[in-house]
Symmetry: C2
Subunit: 382 residues, 2 copies
């Protein structure tokens, strides 16, 4: 059985990499406040982040182990991680919800030095703006950008991380294989969604944070809607796109199905989406850029129009459903071994109808390997 | 069958209330960026927020309908809501991810006036700090606190909202009734978690964003841990605490079970937790305060020690797993009809072992009513 968690050296390596980058950037303390960033250095895994009430912090000093500054309700679980310096307050405290404890710790760690906080794409400060202003005012040091340290670090997955993503992909693949049993002409889409999530759990998902999809004649109108109770009709294309989690790591890929025999438009669109994935996979290797993968797919799905309203044709993933690079013309990030990304071409099939296909690949020394099982060009019929 | 969504007047009433409060506070535009706040005024319901990549905004003007400023991938779904002014950009854009469009819209709506953003407890600005700084610099008006408008508004649920929370509670209650079928001596806790989530879906949950729990002799060590693969043992107390969603509204309550006959400590602790809930429910009525409910329970579970590391003995809920008031000594918020809160007393049972019980109540004109089915003082034996 695949092991949960990581041995301590996984975290020590992450911290060492961060501290090297911090030294280059002159950062004395790295302040983290979001689920993925906190977990990245600690292994602290809980669904309790669903509650917006309490802020949580981890500080990575220039040297030495990270320090947790957290609500006391999390002390027992944090004590099970490799961290030893765990400072707590009884949250929620309407008068001082961790602000003083955070300021004291930052001043102790960083003094008058520079404090870096993730400030770029996909980040946010997970605490109230009014409290953040008090932190900025109360610190002896200056608070500024973390210089992209987290983004660069998290983009390159260790073999252990990739194994967890691969496990999540395997579980989703098993659930997709159940779809012909779950969905048929007449089944309400909302029931398909419920039973598909149950299938993900049945095959070993810890939880299913994300499921989207759609169904309609020759395609669907968008890919982010929740399910309506509308029954599947003959001629519909059904799409399910799931981000399930195993041990804190996501998969993210989709599958299309035809309710009864597909019409020509849907059949040809699906084949072309697979061709687009193949074209990107063919060039996915260290040194190729995110933009190059975009163009390889865009040439096939739009003839090179330069994109669509979806905004991108794939993205990184890992501890979050989407993270890191985006397959868009403006993202020139070079691929590196250890990156895990999705290839997600979409195309217009008919007026107001689109189809989207998505697979997950890991970049290797030589090229890439599929973590999701490659779909065939033929639409699966249900 | 209970209807999904809301008729348009639900949103019009919410906007009217907000605009009245905005006028009192001299706020020309209310800027919202989080899932619940955006959905509150629009009905925009999607699990796509799981992706941290794209920012989303809604602006409530001093008069007139809200304006959505969102990524184009969401345009089709937002067009299904009652909003007509929907402004989009192709996200992600590494150079300008909605910042210019947001600034232009805010300047158009607020001019040199005051722009309010939620800044207090449980809030955050869901966009990168660097982009936020550009927004602050680019607006002609001044950006400041929203004066607690969202917190006050969202605290009072309409009958339609309460009906959705009640439906979520009914679904969870049906799933809890399945636990004796799912869990027994020897069942790994991780399997119990997976099958319980599947049971929630089977009984009609749209999704299960939250499940925590624990198991151990006479109690568990904390209430926020994910499940380990450890099998349930005779004498364990098993606790499951779920926040499942129906049509965008949460339940949040737990149940304790004894694997085999409970020992005296667990049996007595459970009875006392129920007594604490009863004591709070007895005084839960308009005019009583959050702090008074806290003390009613704290007297029973600690003899009046003033709290524990959990930090609070209950909280509001609704569109989020936890929102609004906290049952702590420092929260003197008076209860009002339409509030929905949990009563969540916990107590130490043995060294390092706790038990927690939780129910959901709605405050009525006269007192309160239970939305979760009140548990009996006797621990259910599995």
């Amino acid at each position: 059985m695949q092991e949960r968690g990581f041995p301590q050296d996984e975290f020590e390596i992450r911290v060492a990499h961060a501290q090297k980058d911090m030294a280059s950037a002159g950062i004395e303390a790295l302040l983290l406040s979001t689920e993925a960033d906190v977990r990245y250095f600690t292994g602290f895994l809980t669904r309790f982040w669903e509650s917006p009430t309490r802020p949580w912090f981890v500080i990575v000093p220039a040297a030495g182990d990270p320090i947790a500054v957290i609500p006391s309700i999390g002390a027992a679980l944090m004590a099970q991680t490799w961290l030893s310096d765990i400072r707590t307050w009884r949250a929620p405290d309407p008068h001082d919800d961790g602000v003083s404890l955070l300021i004291d710790t930052l001043n102790q760690v960083a003094g008058a030095g520079r404090i870096g906080v993730p400030s770029g794409p996909e980040t946010h400060i997970r605490m109230p703006l009014a409290d953040w202003a008090r932190v900025v005012a109360g610190c002896d040091g200056t608070i500024g950008s973390a210089n992209g340290i987290m983004r660069r670090l998290r983009a390159i997955k260790s073999d252990r991380e990739i194994a967890k993503i691969a496990r999540a992909c395997d579980i989703a693949a098993a659930a997709f294989a159940d779809v012909p049993r779950i969905a048929a002409q007449g089944t309400p889409l909302s029931q398909v969604f419920r039973e598909f999530q149950a299938a993900c759990l049945g095959h070993g998902a810890d939880w299913v944070p994300y499921l989207a999809g759609g169904a309609g004649p020759s395609g669907y109108s968008d890919v982010i809607s929740p399910a309506a109770d509308t029954p599947l009709a003959r001629g519909d294309v059904l799409m399910l796109d799931t981000g399930l989690v195993w041990d804190g790591y996501f998969c993210d890929f989709d599958r299309n199905f035809s309710v009864g025999p597909p019409d020509t438009a849907a059949r040809e669109a699906h084949a072309r989406l697979i061709d687009a994935v193949d074209a990107a996979a063919d060039i996915a290797a260290p040194g190729a850029t995110a933009a190059e993968l975009f163009h390889a797919m865009d040439r096939i799905v739009t003839g090179g129009a330069g994109g669509s309203d979806a905004g991108r044709l794939g993205h990184g993933l890992g501890m979050q459903l989407t993270e890191g690079l985006s397959l868009v013309p403006a993202d020139h990030t070079p691929l590196k071994p250890g990156m895990v990304i999705t290839l997600e071409p979409g195309m217009d099939v008919a007026a107001g109808r689109i189809m989207v296909h998505e697979e997950v690949i890991a970049i290797t020394q030589e090229g890439c390997r599929f973590l999701s099982p490659r779909a065939s060009r033929e639409l699966v019929q249900i």
